[in-house]
Symmetry: D2
């Protein structure tokens, strides 16, 4: 039997009852996500799942998803996971992240799943999995580790 | 209910039936681990758990575990997780890793848990949790994401 | 007087006399770069500079360059720097990278500058700066550290 | 001629005239650094150079410097570079860092050189080179990219 992850035992409470609407607004406010075709699939406290259907104009030399599309999906999946825990009047910015591309982004869709592993007063840490769905079969494409910072929203 | 991690569904098969002895030899061949007091607690295929009891001479300004001890534990927990899947005659070196220190290393013991998330022909990707045990209570201290490379063992 | 960087003293020799054409072909083979509007500005052995003019459709909530555009520029600036040192018949893939977004991507243009700091047989390490040009003034927007792997080109 | 790095053009002013003494006190307050044998070689505003002479008890399987010693040196070289710019009454903690080990730590000494590349109100970004001195010849051993946070010092 596998040793469970400590981080999977952590339960997060939203500090804003309207967190789903809040994330949706932040998502819709980023024109680049519409340009790429990213879809908001699921928001839970400390969790966000995004989908990105394949299109040739976001591909690389072999016709697979471009690394830039994979990294963008990782970044925003983690970012909106962090956003789901924000109090009213705060905003999230990405401080930094690191991503390992463990397999080509081959298939009809990418799925990004961001999970908060620590939610501090100012900094939030998230982990992200990006999966490639190829003929319906799910494969790990990338994994990422991210730092977010809460800042006061601009009026 | 929480969405399970894709990586938790992956099962690894050892390529060397003597993988436990192999990891133990590699562990014992690193004098720095004895200097710090690191203990090999558990080896499974693609998994390694190491313990590090507190000592004042590996502490920082507030008397907690030094960040160098935390990072070393993260690095070798992931490294030996990768080593457990090596075929005979191969060796592991760390290419790079990134670690987020999410809380001070406060307490009587650190626990490092390394998990392989992708085992390729040449490169292996691992994820690591470092927990601080404080009065018996477990807290997340650090999380890390690491790349290892298999090389032929020197004679 | 500032201490010079060790890595700035390293000089790289191209292993393929046609390295400029090689990088240009690789660049032109990635549809996502044309979609974003990335321009290949300069290639030297172990160095690549890319430009990305501002467009609203690659922006985020405040109208600045989206983090995904910044990270993509960082990734490919480092990638093509590595590509410039490849022997004939080889190909570059990104293993992983980490990027710190140190300031918003505000301005009329982003510049990505990738530099190889170590070129091994199989792995290449690069460092990247992304600068934001705002009313003609250059500001550091992101810095990144990247691992690339050489693989045999598919026929 | 090589393109100069943008970050090399940035000049930092110390916010505390006693920054050298301040860093020295922080350095001496970390017992782990004395245990490893780390020496404080040079402090300038936004810069720190540390030395680590070779000892067998901080080595790995081949008798070279252990990766944990390399990473610890990288972390604290960047950390004290950040510390040099702190105002009175503040303290530095490492949020995260990523290090690429580009060559074995072979030789009689390691040198860590940390440089601040961005000094913000709360967060500081640093870059670090770790060099191995082997028979007097300097070689790049590791490069790192780090995030630090300023916190109020405990009384």
């Amino acid at each position: 039997m596998k040793q469970a992850r400590h981080t999977d035992s952590i339960v997060f409470e939203p500090r804003n009852p309207n967190y789903v609407r809040r994330v949706r607004e932040a998502f819709e406010g980023q024109p680049m996500l519409a340009s790429l075709g990213v879809e908001l699939f699921k928001i839970d406290p400390g969790y966000c799942e995004l989908h990105l259907p394949y299109r040739p104009d976001i591909s690389q030399n072999h016709g697979y998803f471009h690394g830039g599309a994979i990294a963008t999906l990782a970044d925003v999946s983690g970012g909106f996971a962090g956003w789901s825990l924000l109090p009213e009047g705060m905003w999230i910015v990405t401080v930094e992240y690191k991503t390992n591309i463990v397999a080509p982004g081959r298939g009809e869709k990418l799925i990004g799943r961001g999970r908060v592993v620590r939610s501090g007063r100012s900094l939030t840490t998230t982990e992200i999995e990006v999966l490639a769905i190829n003929n319906g079969r799910e494969q790990l494409c990338a994994t990422a580790l991210q730092t977010l910072m809460s800042v006061e929203a601009k009026p």
